[in-house]
């Protein structure tokens, strides 16, 4: 048995898992209309490749990956494309986004499915398949899996962790999936281990899911897979990437870094399952398990086609009077869906119907009394109250200095805050404000460059004109040989000079105190630069919670 470590912070909210975990997964049903958003994953939205009026088959690609950080999208069932345009999507903003709407024909007719012989496929090509089959993290972050499965460009991955933490209250989709489809999950893990070249394979499952642990152990035995299946203590947010890494391997992910920096890659159970279905059976990611629970008649897990309207899902679970709203995701990190007709997407692990009894309206917020009850529960070991003060005062620089970007938005702090302050709202605000400013900065830098180039070009044109005039005058006077070459040379020289000038100017504006520094200072500066680059990198991605 391996030794487990305790990650800092964490809370024990009421679990509410029993409600939905006792019933088996309800088979998929085909709704009349499916709405497939193009932006379901982190990165570039997919690009539609069908037209309105096209008939598509189940599993047929309807949108292709747009670039490296992107995945393809597929028709969840057979039918006709009725619309390609803006439609309501599940997003806290309530803004519409590009979607492909299908009118299903009820025949649920599959397109051709080709299993892939993954053992004899080149890893790069295999990753290409993963992208083409639409696989992205189903734990909540929805990061394209093909990228996470690429071990290049970082320290070697020694451990692959299957994340069965599922630490959020109410959610049981991974629990049921492990109980019912453990073998597929492990098959997927095998492929991932192959791609990553990880020596060690660990599955971490919270000990409030004994049946799932037993099922996984039995399946591992049947498959003869060398995997350690660890029962972790139940503690929210034990399913966070950095947290589960700490629990299972004892490794601390560096501040501002990712678990891959310490050689650990973490995948969600559902992702592993989807990968197995995709590679071994040729089924792209067109459905997922969704827990429908809370204020419904029959809380249960459903296999749901991507694009199914949430309202329809609620009907199946038995809508009840007195529903005050619906949360997509869990009660800790989920958000209120702005519109009941938004579709289920790849990130939807739970649809949680609220009622006054289950989710009483929050008491009024009071000022922060600096009680620091939020400090010991923070898994990132931040000082949430200080981040809150800075964010509230819009002191974004200080917030960033105090490691705002290490916050995983788990909500532990706002859960315990006696003043009932919606702390994470402030962190989100501060983060997105910082990202927006970085973006603005980039745009203005581009504008500056283009403007300078234009000035330079105008200057050059002016000179050229003058020279041409002079040359013309000369030719007229002396009928001398064409000055073409000389003119060309002069032009080239001008450009060279201007380039040199521009470069000199660039050199001049870099901070001067970076020369003549001791190596440790240099290292420090390099590290700061790297961090900046990372933040810029993060800034390019839309706001999404850490994976769970």
């Amino acid at each position: 048995m391996m030794e487990l470590q305790r990650f800092p912070g964490g809370i024990h909210p009421e679990e509410h898992k029993q409600e939905s975990s006792s019933r088996p997964i309800h088979a998929a049903f085909v709704p009349k209309k499916l709405v497939v958003p193009m932006r379901q994953h982190i990165g570039q939205p997919s690009k539609p490749i069908v037209k309105v009026g096209d008939r598509v088959l189940k599993g047929q690609m309807i949108a292709e990956a747009d670039g490296y950080v992107s995945v393809a999208m597929h028709a969840p069932s057979s039918g006709i494309v009725t619309e390609i345009g803006l439609a309501a999507v599940p997003h806290p903003s309530g803004l519409p986004d590009l979607c492909i709407t299908l009118s299903t024909d009820g025949r649920d007719e599959w397109a051709a499915r080709t299993p892939i012989d993954w053992r004899n496929t080149d890893p790069a090509a295999l990753r290409g398949h993963v992208r083409e089959l639409g696989i992205a993290g189903l734990g909540g972050a929805v990061f394209p899996s093909s990228i996470k499965l690429d071990p290049a460009g970082g320290p070697p991955i020694h451990t692959l962790i299957l994340n069965g933490g599922e630490c959020e209250p109410w959610i049981t989709c991974d629990d049921r999936l492990m109980r019912e489809r453990a073998e597929d999950i492990l098959e997927g893990a095998r492929i991932m281990q192959h791609l990553l070249g990880a020596e060690k394979l660990i599955a971490g499952i919270e000990d409030n899911k004994p049946e799932a642990i037993a099922a996984m152990r039995a399946a591992a035995e049947r498959l003869g897979l060398a995997i350690e299946i660890a029962a972790m203590p139940t503690l929210y947010p034990g399913g966070g990437g950095k947290q589960i890494t700490k629990t299972l391997t004892g490794l601390d992910t560096p501040s501002g870094g990712r678990t891959t920096d310490v050689g650990v890659q973490v995948f969600n159970m559902g992702t592993s399952y989807a990968l197995a279905r995709a590679i071994l059976h040729g089924e792209p990611l067109i459905s997922r398990i969704v827990t429908v629970t809370g204020h419904v008649l029959q809380p249960q897990n459903f296999e749901v086609l991507i694009g199914t309207p949430i309202s329809e899902l609620l009907l199946h679970a038995g809508e009840r009077d007195g529903t005050t709203g619906v949360i997509m995701g869990g009660p800790m990190m989920g958000f209120d869906v702005p519109d009941m007709d938004v579709p289920v997407v790849k990130a939807t692990n739970c649809v949680l119907a609220k009622s006054k009894e289950l989710f009483p309206p929050k008491p009024r917020e009071l000022p922060c009394i600096r009680c620091t009850q939020c400090v010991p529960v923070c898994p990132a070991e931040l000082q949430p109250q200080q981040l809150y003060w800075f964010a509230r005062a819009r002191d974004l620089g200080r917030a960033q200095e105090y490691h705002l970007f290490d916050c995983i938005e788990c909500g532990c702090c706002s859960y315990v805050c006696p003043s009932h302050i919606p702390l994470v709202d402030y962190y989100r605000f501060a983060k997105s404000e910082i990202w927006a400013r970085e973006k603005e900065k980039r745009l203005s830098d581009i504008a500056r460059e283009r403007h300078e180039f234009r000035l330079f070009r105008q200057e050059r044109e002016k000179k050229e004109k003058a020279e041409r005039l002079a040359a013309k005058a000369q030719t007229k006077r002396a009928e001398a040989p064409a000055p073409g070459d000389a003119e060309q040379d002069a032009k080239k020289k001008l450009i060279r000079e201007a380039l040199a000038r521009a470069q000199a100017r660039k050199a001049a504006v870099t901070p001067k105190n970076t020369d003549n520094l001791p190596p440790e200072k240099q290292a420090e500066i390099a590290e700061i630069e790297a961090r900046r680059a990372k933040i810029v990198e993060i800034a390019k991605q839309p706001v999404e919670p850490e994976q769970h």
Binding site: P92, D252, S255, L366, P367, I369, C371, L382
Partner: protein, 343 residues
């Protein structure tokens, strides 16, 4: 739309925090009343009424809703802390002035709950001791030593009317505190031994009665820590600060400087350690910062007690450390998760 948790920890609220603080003060209060009579009870009630009225008035002026802010209980906590710091037979107007400064100036002029830099009760105390030193040193004599204990009615009459029952002299009901007795004695060039021998106010380690009150505060404080309302760092560091400073002085000249036990076993030190220095709003928030805060406050308490001109130093020590909080916090940031492994 919120990104924060949709659920809250059951029943956790500012009100709960404040009620627990009040509850943990009760043992101390009961012991206090047992040893020193009804005065403290009357003063506590009077202070609470004043606090709520002043708080309501200030909230109204500032346009804040009354209900959530009055029911948070913070004003009553301030009231109790101030009442417990004043002489138990303090006249009614003394409390009024103190509370006006505590609630009106220290709390609301700085922005209300959570915004004040200084502990309101200590601001009230400091103002009173500077302005009315005479009234502030008329402590009730321990009942065990009092010639004629005041009844409830007598205490009420004295606090609000200033009159004593016929035949009772002022000297019979008030006396100097042990700390004051020591100070006066030292000023008159007596040694500690002589002072102790000359006065009946000294008990086993502290003052008669006072040492028991201190013990009861300690018990309540430990309970408060067990409820996770106060961090251990502040009281431990505060008491350690007193102990080390007093111990060093005592070691240097045992004839002039009282033993560390004596300094710690005073009600004000225990109240300060567990209930005042731990005030979250005006205290440091980082673990190391709290240790520095506590040590500093303990050190200053002894320094002011021994070398300063005032009978007690807890209030000034804590106010001085309140001033340093932003700096302490800024320089004691704990490492975040994974910071040690930063590449």
């Amino acid at each position: 739309m919120t990104a924060s948790a949709h659920i809250l920890k059951d029943s956790n609220s500012v009100t709960r925090v404040m009620l627990l603080v009040l509850a943990c003060l009760l043992p101390g209060i009961l012991t206090y009343a047992w040893h020193f009579g009804w005065g403290i009870v009357i003063n506590l009630a009077w202070a609470s009424i004043l606090a709520l009225a002043l708080e309501a008035f200030a909230l109204r002026l500032r346009g804040y809703p009354l209900k959530p802010f009055l029911s948070d209980g913070s004003a009553v906590v301030t009231a109790w802390l101030l009442a417990l710091s004043l002489p138990p037979l303090a006249p009614w107007w003394l409390m009024l002035v103190g509370m006006v400064f505590a609630i009106g100036v220290a709390k609301h002029l700085y922005g209300g709950l959570g915004q004040n830099i200084f502990n309101p009760a200590m601001v009230g105390f400091a103002v009173l001791i500077i302005s009315f030193p005479a009234q502030m040193t008329q402590w009730a004599a321990p009942l065990a030593l009092a010639a004629q204990p005041l009844s409830f009615g007598d205490s009420l009459a004295y606090i609000f009317g200033g009159g004593l029952p016929p035949g009772v002299a002022l000297d019979a009901v008030v006396s100097a505190t042990p700390l004051d007795t020591v100070r006066t004695g030292l000023l008159q060039q007596h040694t500690l031994g002589e002072i102790h021998a000359a006065s009946s106010i000294f008990g086993g380690i502290g003052g008669v009665g006072g040492e028991w009150v201190a013990a009861a505060y300690l018990a309540g404080g430990i309970a408060l820590w067990a409820f996770r309302i106060v961090p251990w760092q502040v009281p431990v560091a505060f008491l350690a600060g007193i102990w080390l400073t007093a111990g060093f002085l005592h070691w240097a000249d045992a004839g002039r400087y009282a033993a560390p036990w004596f300094q710690i076993a005073t009600p004000s030190a225990m109240l300060g350690a567990f209930f005042i220095a731990t005030d979250p709003v005006s205290g440091a928030t980082t673990p190391r910062g709290r240790i520095i805060f506590g040590l500093g406050a303990g050190f200053l308490t002894v320094i002011i007690r021994v070398f300063g001109g005032y009978p007690d130093g807890v209030a000034f020590a804590i106010l001085l450390m309140n001033l340093c909080v932003p700096l302490i916090d800024a320089y004691t940031q704990p490492p975040v998760f994974g910071a040690t492994r930063k590449k």
